[in-house]
């Protein structure tokens, strides 16, 4: 099922050269609200990434609120896009989402288990949280 937010992201990246895509990711990174320093700790970190990634989640009005941050800009940029798509939705919706934009804007390689980047780990973690909230 297509989803307006993802389609808009895809349209933005469409036809861009790699360096321009990364430029765009960097500008998205700059938009992302940084996570409060005191939450950027070991406990909230997601392992298996080359850059550090921190996650916090909580429920508000039966919606899943996700706060993500990273010390690397490109990871932040990807995180920023990801949050546009998954943040602030009912947990079941998060679980049902098909994150096709990742593949379509050319970041699929960042998803491969081989890549230590850990976009896959981030998504896996979000799904786990959503699953827990649904049950």
């Amino acid at each position: 099922m297509r989803d307006a937010v993802q389609d808009e992201i895809i349209a933005q990246f469409d036809g861009l050269e790699w360096l321009d895509k990364y430029g765009l990711l960097i500008s998205y990174a700059k938009e992302l609200e940084p996570m409060d320093e005191r939450f950027r700790n070991e406990e909230n970190s997601i392992s298996g990434c080359q850059s550090k990634v921190w996650i916090r989640t909580y429920k508000e009005d039966s919606r899943l609120i996700i706060d993500l941050d990273s010390d690397a800009m490109i990871t932040r940029g990807i995180i920023s896009l990801l949050l546009k798509v998954v943040n602030n939705r009912p947990p079941q919706e998060v679980l049902d989402l098909d994150l096709y934009f990742i593949d379509e804007i050319g970041l699929k390689s960042n998803l491969s288990p081989a890549r230590a980047d850990g976009l896959a780990s981030i998504i896996r973690r979000i799904r786990e949280v959503a699953e827990r909230e649904v049950n």
Partner: protein, 393 residues
Amino acid sequence: MTDFKKDFPILDKEIYGKQLFYLDNAATSQKPNLVLDTISDFYRSDNSNIHRGVHYLSEISSEKYEKARQKVCDFIGAGNPDEVTFTAGTTDSINQVARSLEPVLKGNEVMITGVEHHSNIVPWQLAGAKLRAIPMDFDCNLLMDSMEITAKTKLISISHVSNVLGSVNKIKEITGIAKDHDIPVLVDAAQSIQHLPLDMKDIGCDFLAFSGHKMYAATGVGVLYTSERFSDIMPAKGGGGMVDRVTLEETTYLDPPLKYEAGTPHIAGAISIGAAIDYMQNIGMGRIRKHEHEVYSYARDRLLETDGVTVYGNTEEMCGSISFNLDGIHHYDTGLILDKMGIAVRTGHHCAQPLMRSLGTEGTVRASFALYNTKEDADMLIEGIEKVRMMYA
């Protein structure tokens, strides 16, 4: 039956001006074009170190390596790919288990059989375990009822198929008994992975070891399957790629499979195992089994019919190797003369000295078959044997 020989370039070879008949497959198998091309393509267009690489080649290499792991997982019916680690071969796999289990094995006992390869004997001795063998009858059938499990028995480690006799051990019976005693089981599948379909869920063993080079893949690579149940044993080796946090004082490890793969693995080798699995699955394990069974039975029957030949071992199911001797003729002489007729067999103790002692011989001549062997190869072998006998008449 299609002629699989055409897929293996080396089998075209002539030696001493004669066509090569390769019957030393239990020692190592030849490689099909699919495997050769996969290795060559890897080095020519993907080669890079894997994991933690940010660049394109590293990503491609990592992906192909992990895909090979998945193929092995599916091929042996493992629960998940984390149970599959690449090693340097069967011997390395077994040594790793011996090393990891050493705290439990030291001063205790490992139960093996009387047909084991040295690689399933010496590692346990180095780990400080005593060995006991499941008794067997004259035909080398294991006598399960006489197996003496004691409180000191901490592991049962058995070959699936004997590299000398071709006898197939009833491993499911053994895992059944082991389960009753809650003793882990290692299966040495060096001589079965290329001949018989294997399913970890069905067999129910805890460890499985095999080599790439005997299953149409590269040298220097093997597999160790470790059931999830044992995902927390100590790694046998330390190094890059398997650690989480390292200080001079203390180190923490990643989860399996990475935890068991210290250092740069044999990337091309692992990928070649994937290709070898593809090759076998393209034919179909059932079809391979059927063809091999036909050729093996034919060869064995012809040997049994030949005067002055002693064939060793006789179990319900058999595959791969046939061991024999020509009465009054040294196995080494037989091997040397067959060689000069283009027939490659192996002679000697086949790294199974305890079995040789049970058979009452210093050594045997071993002809061992792969999927590309045919009845014609068996006929050549018999013809060769007749010639040897004539020379000694």
